[in-house]
Amino acid sequence: MKRWMFARSLARGATRALLTFALTVVGLLLITFLIQKASPIDPVLRVVGDHASPEAYHAVYVEMGMDRPLYVQFGRYLGKVSRGDLGVSTSTGRPVVEDLAQYFPATVELATVAIVLGVLFGVPLGMWAAQRHNGKVDQYVRVLSLVGYSVPIFWMGLMGLLLFYAKLKLVAGPGRIDDIWKYTLQSSTNFMLIDTLRDRNWEAMRNALSHLILPALLLAYMSMAYIARMTRAFVLEELGKEYVLFARVKGATETRLLWLHVLPNIAAPLVTVISLSYATLLEGAVLTESVFSWPGIGLYVTNALFTADVTAVLGGTLLIGFCFVALNAVSDQFGYWLDPRVR
């Protein structure tokens, strides 16, 4: 009986989350649609050119559905997007969806490695700082975090390249992998680390890693700053609670207390924080990738901006926006599941 009720409440929660998610995606599409509509550039002119005749103009006008009421146009737009038709890029000449599929893995690879590093360093650091509240460690961690989320990522990327690539020659430069290796790889998931692993091409993998390490560490620092700060705040709040006192009464060590008692209690909000950080990394790709010539979504969008390829910019925006919204929704659900009290 209980299990059935549990399953039902889970299903109810999931449907509600799905609905909110769908609504938010529609909201995203609506906003991008409205922005396009408010654009001072006439999209019909872009297709027919400046010297087209009034008849040609009118023909294209009708064909693009511009004579229909706004909500009908939005409906058409929704339909196209859900079918995966995001238009054709004017700079690459290919459907935007194809472009996105090609460039997306690079962004995901970088962001994923960065977030893993960020969590591995950020959570313990935050816990350590909370444990030594107001002590030296706490001060250092706070300053470190503060700088981490005050620094402009594109500038840090440039400085990092200057220092570690140009001056110290510790890492490889821009790009994901040297050209020598790029065309010898047989596997083609477009995730360099996975591809080189599957090919058992260790030289290539080392090369890929040396390209990846600098941008990944810099992005990791930024997400670590946020994660450490939030972990510290969560842990400090928990440390004032009575179950912590009881754990001490039981004779538990401070380490055990933090990792086995407090951490499970902050797991839910921490997952939300980590997802948010991951989403921010994906979003920040537009700034970092151009600095490192990293061929991901960010670079694609930046290039599209310079060539006034609005379709591509729109496509990239939608993809990143969609990921952002999806991550938000998933992290909310995660938080819901992790808390036995809600169950």
Binding site: K241, E242, Y243, L245, F246, A247, R248, V249, K250, G251, A252, T253, H261, P264, N265, A267, D339, P340, R341
Partner: protein, 278 residues
Amino acid sequence: MPELIVENLQVSFPTWRGDVTVVNRVGFEMRTERLGIVGESGSGKSLTARAILGLIRKPGRVTADRMTFDGTDLAGLDEKRWRSIRGCRIGMIMQDPKYSLNPVKRVKDQIAEVAMLHDCVDRKQVHLRVLEMLAEVGVEDPIRVANCYPHQLSGGLGQRVMIVAMLINSPDLLIADEPTSALDVMVRGQVLQMMDREIQRRGMGLILISHDLNTVARYCDRVLIMYKGRIVETCRADRLFEAQHPYTRGLLACLPSAATRGQRLSVLDRAAIEAEAC
């Protein structure tokens, strides 16, 4: 139970107005007996208990002329030695099991943890022992309760769980800090009786902290009355109602009873108490 000696215990905290001493020159000795500490909120009784377990953290300061348990000097202990005492030789249960138990862990794991931390119970037998003890304290369905999360238990069940957790290592002394204040009136008696039975059976000592004179009078052998951080009176529980100190008399007079029905309840005269205290 080995002897617990406390002499001239002081606990103070720094505030922006200067140091505030919340436990002031408290001293007592106890062996295998049930000691009650009574006082209103803010009298320092809980902090005394925490000081005995070394749980007062910076910026609080604890000093004492003497604080020994079984010959071991508690005042100068390092954390490692403290940990070997807490949960193993001295235990403490607190007011509200909803807050004292970890909300995201099952009850059986929380009880088993105490046993495994101190290696007092054979590892393979731990879970069995947990169920046995739950039954001993009056839990009707130990297996179901053991698998529950704290929020799924009623107050009475929660306190029984806490008591099992603190008794599983057969400590010498149990400190109960307002164990029944958060419980329904009807459940209070059950829990206290069960606790009393277990204490007597194991030959343990008990420090019962409460603001309720009746409870303390009934379940303790000796009573300490605390007011504003000081012990103002000590007496035997059965002689409680003959107490001399104006504060104690004031507290006693505040207790409603059938005898005073229809009359105005008396109120503590703090001015007189302050005068007497100085």
